[in-house]
């Protein structure tokens, strides 16, 4: 399996070429004479004359036009080795660790149930550290809460400990800490790696460090098995120190895994004792979505030139609980304030979900949404650039679709509050 390119590669068949060149070769006729349908293009007629079947000559080209092969089959012979690009799926080599001697443990953030970019960096770092230790080690990822991640294997996870009971849902650092302490005593990992992020990695890592009495390296950005360099003093100095057992790693600390596939075999952990939590999660508080700055909003409903009913757009945003954004045209026309403009001359947004209504997707606008995970487009034009970028596009009038969407969300909200009342009762 050397040929794994997504492009067609011309495969020469030297034997076929030799036979085609040699008219006296007993197989010459079969190579030279097969046309499109595999039927012979030249046949000896009953009278001994050579008869050509013009319908069998040539082949249909990529644009649907018939092409006649003037090379007299030379190209056809080589064409036999041509592979179709569609069937090719790049399969990375599998990295297997049987009976690992040790485990390097990574605790990813799993924001929204998926590995973040920083999580993958940290997994890459874990592999670098594992290589530096004698024996064969595996990278064990400990993930809390429901997981939607499908690509643990290509991210570099050798073993996966998925703790998704109800007791790990929500904000429960004490319970998660208890599980990590259990992992510590079960595996005695040479390294504990956490992403140093506001998404919980830093919190959990610090808790574990305090519990097991390790002094962590925080904001570490260049780490090997002996020394690590970390940012200190609010990012103004670099501290070079020996690498501790527990690391809180900065973004882009190491390259992500991209050349191998890993097993991501599930592992089990013995029963974790239930902790009597001193912290009680009361759930997230409703914040006014428009009070959040556009750059850090999680869910944006953006309006472009395709919005004709602005009142409806504003009610839709408030019902969905989305922060409002706009294209430049909507701002220039005076429908939205300048601070709401998304794009090259506006704000670069980082939303997880970006719902673009009536925005064509000019390049200046696309630059602003480069970091968005899921883009949804509502547009009348199926050929516009926004539709090409979007994970889900609906082709139709924005007003109708927004109307339907609002009723759906309202239904969902009333159902939820009824359900909540029943729970409370």
């Amino acid at each position: 399996m050397t040929d794994q390119n997504s492009f067609d590669v011309l495969r020469r068949d030297p034997r076929a070429e030799r036979i085609i060149r040699n008219r006296l070769h007993p197989l010459h006729d079969t190579y030279i004479n097969t046309g499109a349908g595999g039927e012979l293009t030249e046949v000896r007629g009953p009278s001994g004359l050579l008869r050509k079947n013009p319908h069998n000559v040539g082949f249909i080209g990529p644009n649907g036009i018939k092409r006649i092969d003037r090379l007299k089959g030379n190209a056809a012979a080589s064409g036999k080795g041509r592979r179709s690009s569609a069937a090719q799926e790049t399969l990375l080599p599998l990295h297997q660790v049987e009976n690992p001697d040790f485990y390097v443990v990574v605790v990813p953030d799993m924001v929204g149930g998926r590995l973040t970019g920083q999580d993958k960096d940290v997994i890459g770092q874990a592999h670098k550290l594992a290589v530096g230790i004698e024996g064969n080690g595996a990278v064990l990822a400990v993930c809390f809460g429901q997981s939607k991640e499908e690509h643990f294997d290509t991210a570099g996870v050798d073993r996966l400990l998925l703790l998704d009971d109800d007791s790990y849902e929500g904000y429960c650092p004490e319970q998660r800490l208890a599980a990590l302490v259990q992992v510590e005593s079960a595996y005695k990992p040479p390294f504990w790696l956490f992403p140093d992020s506001v998404n919980g990695g830093s919190d959990l890592g610090s808790r574990l460090a305090a519990r097991i009495g390790e002094r962590p390296a925080a904001q570490a950005w260049q780490v090997d098995n002996q020394t690590s360099i970390c940012r200190g003093a609010a990012g103004t100095i670099d501290i070079t120190r020996t690498t501790p057992r527990l690391l809180l790693l900065a973004e882009e600390c190491a390259d992500q895994i991209d050349e191998t596939r890993h097993e991501a075999l599930p592992v089990e952990l013995g029963a974790v004792p239930t902790v009597i939590a001193k912290l009680q999660d009361q759930g997230q508080v409703a914040v006014d979505p428009n009070a959040i700055s556009l750059a850090e909003a999680e869910f944006i409903l953006a309006a472009g030139n395709g919005i004709h009913n602005w009142d409806q757009f504003h009610t839709a945003a408030s019902i969905l609980g989305a922060t409002e954004g706009a294209s430049r045209v909507a701002v220039d026309d005076g429908f939205m304030p300048r601070v709401r403009q998304v794009g090259a001359t506006g704000t670069w947004v980082t939303a997880r979900v970006y719902l673009a209504v009536g925005i064509s997707g000019a390049i200046q606008h696309m630059q602003g949404i480069g970091q968005c995970d899921k883009v949804i487009a509502i547009n009348t034009d199926a050929g516009c650039d926004m539709v090409k970028r979007a994970a889900l596009s609906t082709i139709g009038d924005s007003q109708e679709i927004l109307n339907e969407l609002m009723t759906l969300v309202q239904q969902f909200r009333t159902q939820q509050s009824e359900g909540g009342d029943q729970d409370a009762a």
Partner: protein
């Protein structure tokens, strides 16, 4: 009103300790009051004002280190009568003396910043204190809404401007996020008048840290986009093609209701509908 006062009379007076450190301006490097620590002091003062009307609550602003440090005056200028200082060697580890002090003083709420602006700035101090005292810790607090009957309701700052509400039993340690209310201005007169309550404590030097080397932060190299192409055609495509998320679903002929349903399902799956 009656029962509330009686609770206050039976010793529900809040004892708040706010830990402060010396800050450093990120651009000029000048010594100042640290941003998050001064927000913590501000929150402590707010709790005093809104708390027990009989005035039984108290706020102690505590520093472990050098009492002559000019940065401390910045906190005093917020209107404090005194700053409590545990005097110890600058190279010493502050956690042990702080832990002992807190154990004796037994406050209800300890406020700190998330990360110091100098030194290691790993943000471990509140965690180590919490572990030592066996108290719960709430990181990244934006506000303390109420303290009633030994339970505090706390707003925690989450990324992307979100807030989470938590209930927590006293005593606890809270690290204050930059999302908390801005600290009031610091005035020079009160700053120079405030008392420094100095207590000399013995401490052990930070052994581990002596072996570290520190240097001004280097600019980190940006990660380059490496193109792992095997053929010229692939390299050409990588250099010219627009990055697009492929495999997007396009719904063209469905009714508006079906399309809206699909969008709704996706929003629900992503968990952005609350």
């Amino acid at each position: 009103m009656q029962p509330k006062q009686s609770i206050a009379a039976t010793g529900n007076n809040l004892k708040i300790v706010s830990l402060i450190s010396v800050g450093k301006h990120p651009q000029s490097g000048r010594v100042r009051r640290a941003d998050q620590d001064s927000r913590a002091v501000e929150l402590g003062m707010k709790l005093l004002d809104s708390g027990n009307p009989t005035g039984g609550d108290s706020l102690v602003v505590l520093h472990a280190g050098d009492p002559k440090e000019p940065g401390l005056r910045g906190y005093a200028g917020m209107g404090l009568n005194s700053v409590q200082v545990l005097e110890l060697d600058p190279a010493a580890d502050a956690v042990a003396p702080l832990g002992e002090y807190l154990q004796q003083f037994a406050p209800d709420i300890v406020l700190t910043g998330v990360r110091a602006e100098g030194g290691e700035s790993s943000g471990m101090v509140p965690y180590q204190l919490a572990e030592k005292l066996g108290w719960p810790i709430v990181p990244r607090v934006a506000d303390i809404i109420s303290v009633e009957a030994g339970v505090a309701e706390v707003l925690q700052a989450l990324p992307r401007g979100q807030r989470r509400s938590l209930k927590i039993r006293l005593p606890f340690i809270a690290s204050i996020d930059s999302a908390a209310q801005d600290a009031r201005q610091s005035a020079y007169g009160p700053a120079s008048r405030a008392m420094m309550d100095i207590e000399i404590v013995d401490s052990s030097t930070d052994q581990l840290r002596e072996n570290w080397s520190e240097a001004p932060a280097k600019k980190r190299p940006k990660r380059l986009k490496v193109i792992k192409a095997k053929t010229a055609a692939e390299r050409f495509k990588a250099a010219t093609a627009k990055s697009q998320s492929e495999g997007g679903k396009v719904m063209q002929n469905e009714s508006a209701a079906e399309q809206a349903q699909a969008i709704f399902d996706l929003l629900l799956e992503e968990g952005v509908l609350r």
